[in-house]
Symmetry: D2
Subunit: 429 residues, 4 copies
């Protein structure tokens, strides 16, 4: 820890709840950020391979978003407007329609939920249950969908579930693709459970799935698996909720993580990078025929963050109007894969996880992964772990990271991995 | 409706979910806002007696907050930092300590929850259950605490509860003060239920109460009632959660709505005006000895909105450093009471509700109240209803509203009330 | 304790679960029973004022029931027939129709549930929820309906509820008549809670109520209260479940405890004395139009105990064919009231509870009541307590108890009460 | 249907709930039964291959049990004694200790639950949750454990679950051995789900399993599977509940169905044939160290059916004092297997299910199985189906059935099967 944060009378120790977490891995005070770099209050520079857990896909403080937001503020644009109509919201919705939906031949409405991913997930769960008259929602092993009581019931992590202080209800957890190893066909198991009228698994209101599981260890579902889940949902009268909160907004190489998979989710919770600039913002995309909400049936004070409408619109216009950005992502993904292969080779038994700009290395143990990340931080790289046992070192760099910075960061990661692996071997001997 | 919003091909009709609601009462596009006034895209001016449902206690676009936020943005200050340490957060916490806690002799820690009131409530519920090992949370008739599955189970409104699409669990709803008329002592009933070991009401983990029920009809608990609830909580080993999301931040005349009541809530969810400027932001204040959270046991991507740290700090420094603002609030409350008395006199059987700058008039029917608000809108005043049957016309003007504007708004309200009452009488005849 | 039961190697200590309870109050081995008397294996005689908690309304081993049952057995009559048609069942149903339903102008069908009261209650709860599509069942303070998960959720006793080891769900507990003292109108409170659409009390599937609460302290609902509950149920689209398991079969002076109240419950769980002889047997009476069960939708191996069909039929034919028995009950109730008044007078502050042959004395404390019962046992009378704090000494003598035996038992009770009260005074001094 | 039951004014149509079921398959009135035969009121004889769903393992009206019961009744023995001590209960417990526990080197206590299997299961669930402080109970596909709310949540059948009218909670359903075909190792899947701390499957309070699934289709778990479940339970701190309600009391060839498997279940619900004669009776065997029940923490009026104590003791003494009966069972099982093989050969694709005297034939469709059973009834054989789709023709003849009767019954079954199969083929052509 730096001097600033280590004294017992420190303002954070005194006044911020013990629930705080990332600050424990990165014990310094950050003061400034631009693109893929952060600086702490001592002026020390860090490369950011965490990017707000994929909330900063376009990097910190994109100048165009900054400019638009400052202009909006200085013009006394609406800051908070509940869910009233504003020009700002109209322009955002128009951008969603023109830039995201039409080119992809998608027809969805946008529900402004409370500005958190968990709130969009809760809205999706409520709607699926209302529509089907069923309660059971099928979630997947290692899935993460949020921390409020509904979304938490879909989340797999036992520590987070225990935080509820009371049993969670109304969901069935099924194996994600590959959860039982390569030899076991998860989809077939799920289908057999649902087809058996005496399985004890109640007819589902919905399936909720992350096409790439971010917190769960960068498990990337194949097209076959996603299509299979979509087929099962349809067969059993359930909705398909594709939670693209972490994997969406270009993270896997396309705007939606599933858009090349030939499926049409019924409900798509979006958050994290959807605002473009890291502002709190979430929404639920829903097929128009499912929009049976009564006015305010799900509401919330901060639904429709107007500042976020401004930056989200700029993000869409700047990065998604044509395929330039998407092509760059493909190139960067190759770079990342290549760099991570070197990292994986440095750890016996390690293997690559994820896809696109959402990749990492499973180093086999949470202890080693934690040591690697700690050494990275010492060397000026911010990077975190994921997975049930924190065993995956996960790269979530801004999608806008330059090749040079990407290489620099990967170099630090490789160095830290080699050191940590050697240290681990020595400790074992 | 204006031309912009009435066409079937309108972007909002096409792309925004039917869950939208306030836009239905105020069918125009808002473009600009300052202080207590909004302007739509046709340049039409509206006085704001809604204030983002008490999220804009300091008015729209306070110039000092604007300036500080713009400066922060232009200096590449952190926009999104998960829950890492930042100078911005340190300054905010210091301001909370110096300006809010110390002068009130309060000792609380701040938990940065997801930036919605409902998320802070969920965190409070989880913590109370973890601490006590019990599940039952006692909520009150007409209470409103949010729309995610946990908070919704504490919310009274049957329409909102039905939105869950599945039964809600784990709470017991008890009568708020006066719920059964003046002759029945709600507190005594609750005490008898809890004292009877065969009542079927399980030992509570917590009581959750709004000192003034905002959505429930501006029901203001007396000091005696709040002290009684605090005593019952202590007697039965339960925590006291004072939900000050709508009534806090000066709305009732003091920073906390309960601060002159001689009680010390264990947990205090804050949101709405806590950011100062209407930015999404929420927090849970908790007594230090209750801070048993493990790191990230309740987390969320947008916990700790850095932009909100900036504006929230300015709000505390500008309005709460001394008692000037609080004294002004007392004067304005008198003005408001006086104006609303005139309104009440215009409606047979009407009565005043609420306290401080959170007052309204129960006009006896939701139909009449709705007509009054619709007429106000036509006349350039934005105002809404609350209550189980929407029977209360509720004034939630910015606390910074000048006397002149307050008078102007109250004048419109009186005019609309007289017209609506007459129209109602004529319809009845 | 007798020698037989006090040794550590005793078969009961070794092999019967600690869940056993009545044997703790009456620590001897019973060997024989007839009418209202029991004898232990030492030949000691006891008067029975417990009667299997109202399961032996016609006394032990009624000779006509014995004879019919022995004849059935010796003729190789069906002992166990699942729910197949038998002559025995036909005769039982015919007796129910002819002797119970027709004379009372009641039209009900009989559902053979598992042979326990709790099973009949579970069937009623399931059916009410199926019919209404709602989950919430309104139960009452101090109610007791059984110990399986569904029925237990309707039961008030906190110790029994805690036995579930997990939170109970799906019920709302409302105050029984007089629960808050004579000044508070429970019915009005319930009505206000249900009429308030923001009370947080979900629309009920059913009300479940014991017309006289047996375990809860012999609280007898008035006709007005029962009619009020019936009216509320109808008003809110809920079913009325009158749990007559303990109070039925003549215990209050009429076959059904509510039959002179002018109400028509939708569902009537019956058990305890319904078999006549104390054999395990239960049934759910249901209005024909509510009989939407699919075959075996609620089933159970022992539904329709054929031995019980035999004895139940004899009981109906012997005691209920005309009004002779009912008239005797009225006379005995006067005798009982008179005797208990003397008992009550012996204890300062004591008061009578209950009605008909289901009366007792609230002596103010469970300790005193327990002492009285223990002294009764020493003197040859078996009698137990009830109430939330076991504060009521409860007389549940067989309805067939002769005046002489009743007087003898009441005499013992008076004597024990005087002694216990004096002992209690001396201890206090 | 016979004349007696087909008229609309029939007493059963008028007065017995539509929930009745077996009477629909066997539409006649039964009047008398002895051993493995029943006679209806027209004097028609039926061979009983259903035996009260394994409640009549010792046949109808065993003469020794009849005699003992008649003697008990005529001597004014206790009929109903709540859970007081009686000589009758002592003798029963002594027989359990001497004849069942000691020879098998088992140490269990007996909890007298309500006299239904579902009640014993509820008691087991409650105790497991109390002991572990956890809620999740792992049940298996195709499992059947009862119809009250707790037991029903462990039951797989969707029709029966739907009967609850409300979602069921607190259980996780895992695949039984072979549920996903021979290639998938169910045990390994379960272990992986439990070992993965992010699977979303909460730590279990207990596993509940039928060693042979009676209602679920005569699925017999192997020793390896049962040992695996026992090992998983121990590894994860959960109790093992072996539900031997249908498979126990000699049905599989030994007293307990699992006694040759080298496992020691923590809790063993018993019912059905435990009373010997088909009287309502159930109990929970529990390891002494788990007997943490407080007095009456789980209770019920009819716990400890005294008549059943009498017949149950006779059954133990008559059939289990030495290994004669068990040896006979082994021989009869061979006979049964052989007969069913002939049946299976008559149906293309059919296969044998179950073990011991609990075997049947999976004929591939519920329609065919139903037709076979209907034809059997016409020919004087009572036999039923089981399985998720009622696709298994199930033989549950009394264990005491003579070889001649067994052959006769199997002959009818073969004949009916051949006819039904041909009829099915003709219909298909």
């Amino acid at each position: 820890m730096t001097n600033e944060t280590s004294t017992p009378t420190d303002i954070f120790s005194r006044r911020e709840s013990e629930a705080r977490s990332y600050c424990r891995s990165f014990p310094t005070r950050f003061a400034r950020a631009k693109g893929s770099e952060l600086w702490d209050d001592q002026g020390r520079r860090y490369i950011d391979f965490l990017a707000g857990c994929s909330s900063l896909n376009y990097g910190h403080n994109d100048p165009d978003m900054q400019a638009a937001l400052v202009e909006h503020i200085q013009a006394d644009g609406i800051t908070h407007g509940l869910d009233m109509f504003t020009d700002t919201k109209a322009k955002f919705l128009q951008a969603v329609e023109d830039i995201i939906l039409k080119p992809r031949d998608m027809d969805y409405k946008v529900m402004m939920t409370g500005p958190t991913g968990t709130n969009a997930v809760e809205a999706a769960m409520k709607l699926a249950r209302k529509i089907t008259g069923r309660r059971n929602i099928i979630a997947f092993t290692n899935g993460f969908h949020g921390m409020t009581m509904g979304a938490l019931s879909c989340t797999g992590n036992s520590g987070k579930r225990a935080g509820a202080g009371t049993p969670l209800c109304g969901t069935t957890h099924m194996p994600f693709e590959g959860a039982f190893g390569d030899d076991v066909d998860s989809l077939s198991l799920i289908e057999q459970m649902l087809d058996n009228s005496s399985s004890g698994v109640d007819a589902p209101a919905a399936f909720i799935i992350e096409p790439v599981q971010g917190e769960g260890g960068l498990n990337a579902a194949s097209t076959e698996f996603m299509q299979g889940v979509a087929r099962l949902a349809q067969k059993h009268g359930a909705l398909l909720i594709a939670d693209d909160i972490q994997a969406g907004c270009g993270r896997t190489g396309t705007f939606f993580s599933f858009e090349e998979m030939g499926i049409e989710p019924d409900l798509i919770p979006m958050a994290k990078s959807f605002s473009g600039m890291g502002l709190p913002f979430a929404a639920l995309l829903l097929k128009p025929e499912l929009d049976i909400w009564k006015p305010a049936e799900h509401n919330g004070t901060f639904r429709g963050n107007t500042h976020a409408f401004v930056t989200a619109r700029v993000a869409l216009e700047k990065f998604w109007k044509d395929d330039t950005f998407q092509k760059e992502l493909a190139e960067k993904a190759v770079l990342l894969t290549s760099g991570l292969q070197s990292v994986a080779e440095a750890v016996p038994g390690a293997k690559l996880k994820g896809r696109g700009l959402m990749q990492g290395v499973d180093v086999g143990s949470g202890e080693l992964a934690g040591d690697i990340c700690a050494r990275c931080f010492e060397k000026g790289l911010i990077i975190e772990t994921s997975g049930a046992d924190d065993e995956v070192v996960k790269v979530l760099a801004p999608l806008t990271t330059s090749s040079e910075l990407m290489q620099e960061g990967l170099g630090i990661l490789l160095e830290a991995t080699i050191e940590a692996t050697q240290s681990s071997k020595m400790a074992a001997e």
